[in-house]
């Protein structure tokens, strides 16, 4: 008799109690002598987040969410034993998502190649090597309209075609898994949840362009991803999917792992190549492009994790199937890491052309607090902010670019009225200044000078002419930097200047930060009506800026005050005003 399969995972965010629930399930199954008929699995990711205990029962194909401890018994007795569905517990999955890249994440055990194979895994590779027409793969990709998911959106088929056509015996393919964008973790999700889908894509890339060697360049900061990829590679070698004469054909292909070492610039393709070669990860001028002269000066195709995870389904189902999803120029789906002030943070995969509003409100569940949405940031430190009046824009490469942002790798950060746009611009620029490799002057010095100007503005020392200076340096960086890091580093500043100029004016002219983020612009004072004269603020003030006595009341001296906010924190009566 076939075993019934059940997956469980505690998706709560406090502490993961999956283990306890597992024990409860086992006990109940034993009590009902069902232990031989039911296989119960703890999974690391079930594709649902923040919904308490989630139970997935394959036989009835039902998913229960927010299951309470005492309801486990009901599930075992009704659903598992009698096959009845408990309607109240059913998980209401948010519609609008379409999972191609994340197709298997949470569905299969990422450490078991057989489960991937059972989901049509390596079928695309089998089809490709049996037909043995690499050009046809590129043709199919052209039909699909797939564009690079690392950020720039270069057509994948063209990259492969150019690499294929460069006359050279030795060629390489590289999977760029150096996801360094702060606030984005799409690649981590795929590598940890379904590493074989990326490996299959990389093997297909090697087959299509005529390479016999591939590299996985993975961030060392993702130890679990590294471990899962290593395991998956070993399994693929064991199954004859890597190595010599793959699946009985003449095609030989090997994959090695190389670890990144914490340098954001290594996401840039020429810097990444330098890093794989064991050198400092600094970019070099292009052309020659890597498709002509890449790793060890040989033609090289570099693709992002998400791009590669798309390849196998396209080969299996055909380019036309993929091209039917999305907008005119941006096909297929995109994975976003939806975070910030939104209720449901997590990875979402949506068809291109969906609006930002649908992502934030229908999938993300709206804002956490009652504070209104101010903007959505996409593209991380290379992107820009999209103010709330453009929320109905369909998401695709062209539209986001028109709005002064970019698709980027997939970070999507929702900001509310509490977030100061000058501070955000400073945050992103600070990141790029930290991560600048220092090779070219516009990026190294331009970024530093812009950051100094923003510091001045947030400290209340800014002048209106600083805005012009910011714009001039930004232009120089965009035009003259060596690589995309420098060319796009000023984007967050440029886009906040475009849409939130009034906030810059507030900081410069009125010396006010309306979001109360820039602490140098805050003024603390004591609301005499609320003050109970308890002296707690006076005792806690580190610089003795508060004076007075119980009869007269207390005052904050703004000349001495260092704006540390200690008084605001310690006051139990909300008698400190911050403005």
């Amino acid at each position: 008799m076939d075993q019934k399969i059940v997956f469980i995972k505690d998706t709560g965010i406090e502490n993961d109690r999956t283990k306890d629930y597992y024990a409860l399930f086992l006990n109940l199954l034993r009590e009902n002598s069902l232990e031989d008929q039911v296989q119960i699995n703890r999974v690391a990711d079930i594709g649902i987040y923040n919904q308490g205990l989630v139970v997935k029962i394959f036989e009835q194909d039902v998913i229960y969410a927010n299951v309470k401890e005492e309801q486990i018994k009901e599930i075992v007795l009704k659903t598992i034993k009698e096959g009845k569905v408990i309607k109240e517990l059913l998980f209401q999955s948010p519609p609008k998502q379409l999972r191609i890249v994340l197709r298997n994440c949470g569905e299969i055990d990422p450490e078991n190649i057989d489960e991937y194979i059972a989901k049509d895994g390596y079928q695309a590779l089998n089809k490709a090597v049996q037909e043995n027409k690499p050009e046809k793969i590129i043709e199919e990709l052209k039909k699909s309209g797939l564009r690079g998911r690392g950020g720039a959106g270069f057509p994948t088929w063209l990259k492969w075609k150019l690499t294929r056509e460069t006359p050279e015996a030795q060629k390489y393919v590289i999977c760029n898994a150096d996801e360094g964008d702060p606030g984005a973790y799409m690649d981590r999700g795929v590598l940890e949840g379904d590493p074989h889908s990326v490996i299959e894509g990389l093997i297909l890339a090697g087959f299509a362009i005529g390479a016999n060697k591939g590299y996985f360049y993975v961030r060392a900061e993702y130890p679990l991803a590294v471990q899962r990829v290593e395991l998956a590679l070993a399994q693929a070698y064991d199954h004859g999917l890597l190595g010599k004469n793959i699946l009985g054909s003449n095609f030989n292909f090997e994959i090695d792992i190389r670890l990144g070492a914490g340098a954001f610039v290594c996401g840039e393709e020429t810097a990444l190549i330098a890093s794989i070669e064991g050198r400092r990860g600094t970019p070099r001028p292009r052309p020659p492009y890597p498709s002509v002269k890449g790793l060890w000066d040989k033609p090289t195709a570099i693709n992002n994790v998400e791009t590669l995870a798309n390849i196998a389904p396209i080969i299996l189902k055909g380019g036309d199937w993929y091209a039917a999803i999305g907008t005119e120029k941006s096909k297929g789906t995109k994975v976003f890491a939806l975070t910030g002030k939104v209720k449901n943070s997590g990875l979402v995969e949506v068809p291109m052309g969906i609006t930002l509003r649908e992502i934030v409100y229908d999938i993300g569940g709206g804002m956490i607090s009652s504070k209104g949405i101010k903007a959505v940031q996409t593209g991380g430190p290379s992107g820009g902010v999209i103010p709330q009046e453009y929320l109905d824009t369909p998401v695709d490469y062209e539209n986001l670019q028109k709005l002064g942002s970019i698709m980027g790798s997939g970070g999507m950060i929702v900001m509310d009225e509490d977030d100061c746009m000058v501070d955000i611009a400073k945050f992103y620029l600070g990141f790029c200044v930290d991560e600048s490799c220092g090779k070219c002057v516009p990026c190294r010095i331009g970024g530093y000078q812009m950051l100094a100007l923003l510091d001045k503005i947030t400290e209340g020392q800014g002048k209106l002419e600083d805005i012009e200076k910011l714009k001039r340096i930004a232009l120089a960086m965009q035009k003259a930097s060596l690589c995309a890091l420098g060319q796009t580093a000023a984007n967050p500043v440029v886009s906040t200047l475009k849409y939130f100029f009034a906030e810059y004016q507030d900081h410069i002219v009125d010396k006010k930060c309306r979001s109360h983020k820039c602490k140098h612009l805050l003024n603390y004072s004591i609301i005499q009506d609320k003050c109970k004269r308890c002296r707690v603020c006076l005792i806690n003030c580190p610089v003795n800026a508060i004076s007075g006595d119980k009869e007269q009341g207390f005052l904050v001296d703004p000349k001495i005050c260092i704006r540390c906010g200690k008084c605001y924190e310690v006051c139990k009566f909300n008698a400190i005003a911050k403005e």
Partner: protein, 165 residues
């Protein structure tokens, strides 16, 4: 370094070099393994590596100093990684940073005087849904509030660890 330690180092480097010598671009991978072994890259080890690989020491140091991941100083006993990625920043991780700095009297990237904690600032641990996030050694603390920092850190002080033993 004692003679015994020196021998361990020579053996370790010899085995790493023989494992990687035929692979091109091996320096970064060797440094990763060396750092896994020591927790940082000690200068004598870098010198020995330079001899074994026939690579100038400057070439090795140029790589070590370029990448944030490689350390030249021994790390503290417990490593605090405070995330300053965008999602965490929006949810107040800069406030947590100041709190930790104040409580431990330590700067970013430095180790406390007693060697108990090292404070590292990282850009995104890839768990933005839990922002703001602090990772201490391998344990991740999500949705941390400023008021909870003291309690979290106090779990790691020597006194308590001994009492558990």
């Amino acid at each position: 370094m004692t003679q015994e330690e020196n021998k361990i180092m020579l053996d370790e480097i010899a085995s790493l070099v023989s494992k990687w010598k035929d692979k091109e671009g091996n320096l970064i991978m060797i440094l990763h393994e060396l750092q896994n072994f020591y927790g940082y890259v000690p200068r004598p080890a870098a010198l020995e590596l330079s001899r074994a690989l026939h690579t100038p020491l400057a070439r090795i140091y140029e790589v070590i100093t370029f990448y944030n991941f490689f350390k030249l100083e021994p790390p503290g006993k417990h490593i605090i990684s405070l995330c300053l990625g965008t999602a965490c920043y929006l949810k107040g991780s800069a406030i947590l940073l100041n709190e930790i700095k104040g409580l431990l009297n330590v700067e970013e990237g430095a180790t406390t005087k007693d060697g108990l904690f090292q404070l590292d600032v990282v850009r995104c641990l890839g768990c933005c849904g839990l922002a703001p996030v602090i990772k201490i050694d391998d344990k991740v603390y999500g949705k941390v509030q400023k008021s909870e920092v003291m309690g979290i850190l106090s779990q790691y002080n020597n006194h308590q660890e001994e009492s558990v033993k």
